[in-house]
Symmetry: C2
Subunit: 316 residues, 2 copies
């Protein structure tokens, strides 16, 4: 928990991520309220004691009056409509988002003329569940939260967003939009695609194959349990980066297939995969302590630190 | 637990699976002992109070005298050498195995003239760990244990093997060797291959990508943590079936790539994958109760029941 005065927070979209963020912010002492497009979703949050309505103009007018931090917490396809309302009712609020891609959100923000106080965000947390019923104030505990350090980012909203992420229990990785999108194609969107393909291959073996399936299949297909619309909303807006890494993976798997056919050997793939998993398991986060928002060259320094595995765990 | 008198059990290989089997058999009241090729491995088991030595002729001579059930618990590449010793020292013992493929083991058994009392087996359990230190007498609790019902299988050793699997806490799926090998290519060997490829793709994104990785990457690459030699020993002996399903998966992923490129859509893959995972999650095991070993046509009936999701949970 950080000691500085807390911003008000207005969460737009109270599904798994937005709803959990609302819960976490309230638990951390923020004055926080929200909007949900569906009356059912808003009602479920209200029934749990949270201040959520389906009246977007009222929610945004209140945010403008309180100079609240706005958090866009809807899938990419719904971002444009929400930003248009923000531009109408609360154009001067600090603005962040928790959407799974960053460059397309930044482009939509620019299109609405809202770039000045925007800072991209993406908490790397989630489950195969969705909706208010799945929300959890502890969802972000010890999770990584990507926070944008793109050129032109201003220190004040950046600090507000970073503070909120830390107050929700996360550590912050500073990253620019394009690099974020290429990274998550590898470690979030490709896992979804491979899980779907593995599930299909398993089920094609019928009741016998599914009946014999154990841990490797269960874990390897877990995220295929995510609602199809949500998976598409996560992956498709990042199609450029995803296509690149999908091509790379098809080449790798094709080479493994050829080696298995020609030499009955999976050596190259298996050794490289084991090395890679070891690198993941032994990766050490280190704490970024000496870069302060607003300092000379702070954005470039934070970007470089994030690339090298640095995380922010507190603000002074 | 079943009430009939228990066979003696001689476990050949006391790594993760064999060692856990030895522990589970002793816990279930079997007179059980074992062999390990490495003096270190045998010593570790002895230090935990188990009767394990690295002297194969002595172990097998004892098994022959006790008419013990022999359990081959080594990776496929070590099976031939072990079977040759069995043919020399204990050719009349009932024989099973816990190897990850069934047709190649059956072929090696036939080659040594040991088919008469052989019944294939494969407990669908394991972790990314290996060796005696990772053994656990509860490893097979509620796991599925494939037991062979190939043509020519005799009722007496089949009953002994099935009883042991049940006494270790597993449920038994009756299956013939070829169908087993095709099924595990889908739900065990393909998951290994995809996990290796995913790990490589993630690590290629450097510290930033690995630092952002969360649950989907962690679960999707878990089995890439398995020792490379063991993964190869599991997958490569099943290359025929694995190549088929790998080709199928490359076709599926290639189509998804093309659809993402042409139409920015992953709809087909994602919907099929979600349906498949739902089918896996909701698959119902049903209990095979009315087929008795030795009855007319019992092998064909059990094979058919296994194909339809039936499991054996007790023997009468």
């Amino acid at each position: 928990m950080t000691a500085a005065p807390k911003a008000s927070v207005c969460v737009l979209g109270t599904g798994l991520i937005g709803g959990s963020l609302l819960r976490a912010a309230v638990a951390a002492g923020y004055d926080a309220w929200g909007f949900n497009r569906s009356a059912t979703g808003a009602g479920a949050a209200r029934a749990d004691g949270f201040d959520v309505t389906e009246d977007l103009p009222t929610v945004l007018t209140r945010a403008a009056a309180a100079d609240a931090l706005l958090v866009l917490a809807v899938p990419m396809p719904a971002v444009g409509r929400l930003l248009s309302a923000v531009a109408t009712f609360a154009p001067h609020c600090a603005l962040t988002d928790v959407v799974s891609v960053k460059a397309p959100v930044a482009a939509a923000v620019r299109k609405e003329g809202l770039a000045a106080r925007y800072v991209g965000g993406h908490p790397m947390a989630g489950t195969a569940e969705s909706g208010w019923a799945a929300t959890d104030p502890e969802l972000f505990r010890d999770a990584v939260w990507a926070v944008g350090v793109d050129e032109g980012t201003r220190a004040e909203p950046w600090t507000t967003v970073t503070r909120l992420a830390l107050d929700c229990g996360a550590v912050v990785v500073p990253v620019v939009a394009d690099e974020h999108d290429r990274a998550v194609a590898r470690i979030s969107h490709l896992p979804h695609v491979l899980a779907e393909a593995l599930a299909v291959a398993g089920a094609a073996g019928g009741d016998l194959a599914l009946g014999l399936a154990a841990g490797s299949f269960r874990d390897g297909t877990r995220v295929a349990g995510t609602a199809p619309d949500l998976v598409r909303a996560i992956c498709e807006p990042n199609s450029g980066a995803l296509l690149d890494v999908l091509d790379e993976t098809l080449t790798l798997l094709g080479a493994a297939r050829d080696s298995l056919r020609a030499d009955n050997s999976l050596a190259e793939l298996v050794e490289a995969g084991h090395d890679a998993r070891q690198r993941y398991e032994t990766a050490q986060r280190w704490e970024i302590t000496d870069i302060h928002p607003g300092d000379h060259n702070w954005l470039a320094k934070l970007r470089d630190a994030g690339q090298r595995g640095g995380v922010i765990t507190r603000l002074n």
